[in-house]
Each structure stands twice: as structure tokens, then as C-alpha cells.
Symmetry: C2
């Protein structure tokens, strides 16, 4: 491969001039610039990134690390949306994305440390998780850059983009109540997605019930695992548990959960009502566009996952370029009425 020395020789200039052309400095005479550009084209010259990174102390890449393994990550449309949002923004900003999907928390933390401390990347987006406290704080102190999707530790005030699950729970539950439902099932998020200061959708559910004077029945609340089959089994348990006082509505904490619940409903001969029509009410948890292509009538809690990914990436780019932490953001989901 040709180096700037080859280009310099060919264009009869110094390497510094070549470097200037490369970096779009204005201090190069037009005629010189064209000569250099011609030489670069002739030699099929491309600047070596490693040399650049070494010198500039930045790589132009950021890491995206999720601790749930590829089997989960690539089958969860919500995670996909978050990654997509981040990738889109990074692309606009000229950054490359290094995607890493270790299978557990410890490996994920090791990955973040490896990517950032070895300077493979200029910063990392890390999925919020327990046990990240010390590492993430250390990274911050030592000048490595990171932003988390959701909280990484209790009392975290900076460098995160979170979605308010409680607000979603309230909105969905109120909607069900407004249609006259009183036996409302909830398939909540898996507990390992929660953190001391990340509150559950179940809190919103309880609040809304309480405000409407409907007694809370813990048997109507099941834990899902954000997968289709998790939703399926949880829904079956809700439907079969109490034959005489069966739920007439189910609120799901994710889209796959809802698709699984839908399968369970169909197996039991129940078709969720569309619109405000009477009948069984099934509410999804992300209401992603891709889910609604498959089930257009599905309403529920619309979580801005794509925006979350985008904003996290945007925040990371700021953290990197300005060199200081940025206050966290909490996004509100909205309630999408079934079609």
C-alpha cells in the first residue's frame, strides 16, 4: 500500500502538505492540492487508520455492548430498534459501530473495559445492568466515555437514556379500566431488567388500579421474559388459573410477549377485540412499527426504543467531543389505542 511518503514524492511536496490535503486544511494552494489529489488517485492511496488513531488518539468507532447474548438480542425487536437507532445516528456522525453481544453481565463488563481501555473505540454504549457500578464509575473517572441504555447504577444522574416504565403501566391500565375492565392481567418485565432506581411497569399498574378503586390481585401479575414463548406461557397461566373469574384484559411489557399472549388467546378461542369494541383486550408493550405490520390492530404502550438508541448514541458523541458527562434523559412512552 502507498503511504503519504509515496504520495509526497509523486506530487513533489512534503508529507505535511499531503497530510494537510488529507485533513482538508485551507492552507494549501489550489494548484498544489490538485497535484496531491492526483497523486493520491494514481497510487490508490488510502490513509492507514491504525496510524491515524495512534497519532490522533481517537478511532472514529464506538462500541455497542449488550449483555444478553445473541440469541436474545437478535430475536428481540426492541433491542433491534435500539441498535438501529444508535447505528443510524453514528452513521450520520461518521462513526463506525463495533457490535458486541456477550452472554452475561461479567463478560459484558469485560468487553466494555477491553474496547475502551485498549482504545479499540472512543466510547461505548452499554446496556443498563446491575454490577456495573464500579467499572462504569472507574471508566468515567479515568476519562473513558460511555453512555448507558437505562440506568447502570443506583443514583446515576448522567450518561443514560431511560424509558419510564411506570408511566406506561399507568396509561395502559387506565385505558383498560376506561373500557370497563376490572380483571386485568399484567405480564411484567423480567426482574433482571430492573435496577434499584429503575421502577417496574407493575408500579404503574398498581397505581392506576388504586386510583380507580379496583382491588389489586397479585395472581393477575406474572413475570415474562420478553420472549414470545414467555408471553405465551404467562398468558396461558393467566387464562387457565381462575376459570370463574378470568381476566378480560392482558397488558404486556413487550411486543414479543404480546405476540405470545396472542397465540395463547387464539388457542383458547379468544380473539382480542379491535378498537373500542367489547371483548378481550390485549395490549402490547413496545408497539413497534414492525410488530404492527404483522398485527396492525394491536395497541398498547408505545415505547420510543428507536429514539432511545439514537439519543444514547447522540449523547455519547457529545460526551466524547466535549469531554464531560451529560445529564440523563427519561423518555415517556405513549398509549396507542388498538385499531
Amino acid at each position: 500500500m502507498a503511504t503519504i511518503y509515496d504520495v509526497a514524492k509523486k506530487a513533489n511536496v512534503s508529507v505535511k502538505t499531503v497530510s494537510r490535503v488529507l485533513n482538508r486544511s485551507q492552507l494549501v494552494r489550489q494548484e498544489t492540492r490538485s497535484r496531491v489529489l492526483a497523486a493520491m488517485a494514481d497510487l490508490d492511496f488510502h490513509p492507514n487508520s491504525a496510524a491515524r488513531s495512534l497519532r490522533r488518539k481517537r478511532t472514529g468507532a464506538i462500541g455497542f455492548v449488550v449483555p444478553f447474548g445473541s440469541d436474545f438480542v437478535f430475536h428481540d425487536p426492541g433491542m433491534i430498534e435500539q441498535i438501529k437507532g444508535a447505528l443510524d445516528l453514528l452513521n450520520e456522525r461518521g462513526y463506525d459501530m463495533v457490535l458486541s453481544v456477550p452472554t452475561n453481565r461479567d463478560d459484558a463488563l469485560r468487553e466494555v473495559v477491553r474496547l475502551t481501555k485498549r482504545r479499540n473505540v472512543d466510547g461505548a454504549i452499554l446496556y443498563g445492568m446491575t454490577g456495573a457500578d464500579s467499572i462504569v464509575k472507574e471508566l468515567s473517572e479515568k476519562g473513558f466515555h460511555f453512555v448507558s441504555l437505562g440506568y447502570c447504577y443506583p443514583e446515576q444522574t448522567h450518561n443514560f437514556v431511560e424509558i419510564d416504565a411506570v408511566a406506561g403501566g399507568i396509561a395502559a391500565t387506565r385505558y383498560a379500566i376506561s373500557l370497563g375492565h376490572t380483571r386485568i392481567g399484567l405480564i411484567k418485565e423480567p426482574s433482571n431488567f430492573l435496577l434499584p432506581n429503575k421502577r417496574s411497569i407493575a408500579e404503574g399498574y398498581k397505581t392506576a388500579l388504586e386510583q380507580a378503586g379496583i382491588p389489586y390481585d397479585e395472581r393477575l401479575v406474572r413475570e415474562g421474559d420478553y420472549t414470545v414463548s414467555g408471553g405465551y406461557w404467562a398468558a396461558l397461566r393467566l387464562l387457565d388459573h381462575d376459570e370463574h373469574a378470568r381476566v378480560s384484559a392482558i397488558i404486556c411489557s413487550s411486543d414479543p410477549t404480546a405476540l405470545g399472549a396472542l397465540r395463547a388467546l387464539r388457542e383458547r378461542g379468544l380473539v382480542p377485540a379491535s378498537g373500542t369494541q367489547n371483548g378481550f383486550l390485549l395490549l402490547a408493550g413496545d408497539c413497534l412499527p414492525s410488530t404492527r405490520l404483522i398485527e396492525p390492530s394491536l395497541g398498547g404502550i408505545q415505547a420510543p426504543l428507536y429514539e432511545q438508541g439514537r439519543l444514547a448514541a447522540d449523547m455519547l458523541v457529545s460526551v466524547i467531543s466535549e469531554g464531560r458527562d451529560v445529564p440523563g434523559i427519561v423518555l415517556k412512552p405513549t398509549m396507542l389505542v388498538p385499531a
Copy 2:
């Protein structure tokens, strides 16, 4: 950040010795090694990747470039499976993946050139596409490494992993015929996914019909775009076109296509039969595990997309480490009977 010089000083050895420890050379006395390791831990030393890459002339990363834009790529479960397969293998082999999703062919080719020629990556996986001929051949000649998912140019014999769409078409069509169907609709792949030596599912479809003595009716073949809505509209056209001689079966070339078609069927009051039961037959095109979680009864052409991604990555790793091209592979899909 500490460098090997700091470590060397602290451990009272030369930088070369530190380097040896770093690279697990056996030519270091045990006692020296432990002293160096202790110093590294003390200083929280992490080797700088840029410096390493510059010196070693390899980065430990590979690029994955798909030319269809994030809106398509992240919403197509087939692409997701391919990426997942590649990522899993690269992870096992200790490579990082740089994911790039430009929106068109020209940008994709530029991306591959940028990533490889600037040495951001040691090689790239490129989605097969027209117009890649010259660039991909040039890369090959100049010693840059690449492997393509599907063919990149006519007469390509090396560095690709392809899935035989014709075989899939034959199998699915034969299955439909075996159940007594004679009016069989086909929603084939979008034409921009085809290349001179990549043959269409429609060829297999025709072959099977011909062998069974069923006349070919071009009105029963529609082009899809691999999306849910594309499948929906194509299926509606198939269902509404010819009221008196309507299709009794539809073969789809992808899973989203089938999910869209399913929506169309439901809207027309048609429920696809399960198993070998009589009734409307709907066959999917990828039969991915994730699709079957949503619609467990869906049968069709089961394409080994995950394996394709894995094998492509594996092939690329070979190409990189052995420095020479590897003969292409063609995978056969199988026919999955509806449950």
C-alpha cells in the same frame, strides 16, 4: 494511560520482555513474567490497539456491509439471522465486528473499500450484489480479503456462501402439488436480489409444475419485496385477481412475505390449513425459528440463513489467515411441513 515503557520500568525489564509477556511468548522466565504481570496490574495497563494494528498489520476486526439500509436490514429477520450467524462465529474466533448498513449499492461498495483499504478491518463480508464485479475483483487482486453472502458477480467461483433458491422452489411446489393443489400462487424474491448466476425461486416453481404436468400461469407469480406489507399486497392481488379460479395455495419467498400474506388471508376470511388437512395452503420462505414462535404451524422452505452467516464468517477468517481464496459453498434449503 500506562504504556509498555511504564510497565518495563516498573518491572525492571525491557519493553521487549513486556511485549513477550503480552504475546504469551514462552521465552520468558516464570519469575520475570510474574513481575511483569504484577506491574501491568498495578498500572492498569492495557495494550493500545492502534499501535498494535499499525505494527502487526492486522486489526482483529472484520466488516459486515449490507446495502439495503437500516430500515430494511433491521426489520428483516432473515438478514438478522445472517448477521447473528456471522457475529457468533467472529466472537468465537476473537474478532470484532464492524456493522455497516449503507442505503444503496454504491455506498456499500465505497464502505467496503474504505473499511478494507484504510485497514479499519482485516476483511469484509459483503452482501452479494450487482455492480460489485470490478471492486471485488480489485480487492482480491490487491490482497484485501472479502467473502460474499450470495454471489457478487457472474462466474464467481470463490469466496461466497449461497443458498439454492431453485431447490427451495421445487420442494415447496412439489409439496403443494402432493396435497392436490393445482392453482398455486408464488410471491417470488425482489429482482434486485438476483444476479446473472443467482437463479430465482420461480425457476424451481416452474420446474415442479412442469414435471407434474400442471400448466404455468404467469398471473399466479408476483414479485415481493421481502417485507410484510409487500407480502400482504401481493397476496391480496393473488386472491382478488381471479375470483372464479382463485389460488388455493401461496408459496412465499421469505418469512415476512408469508406473515403479510397471512394477514391478507385472514382479512379475506381464509385460515390456512394446518398439517395435511384440506384447505388453503400457505408456505413461508425462511421458516426461521423466530417466525415459528409467532406462527408455530407455518411450514415452508427452511433456509439455513444463520448457517450462511456463520459459514461466510468462517470462510473469511480462513481467507484472512491462509491468504488465499476459498471455493464457494451452496447450501440447500429443506422443506418444512406445516405443523
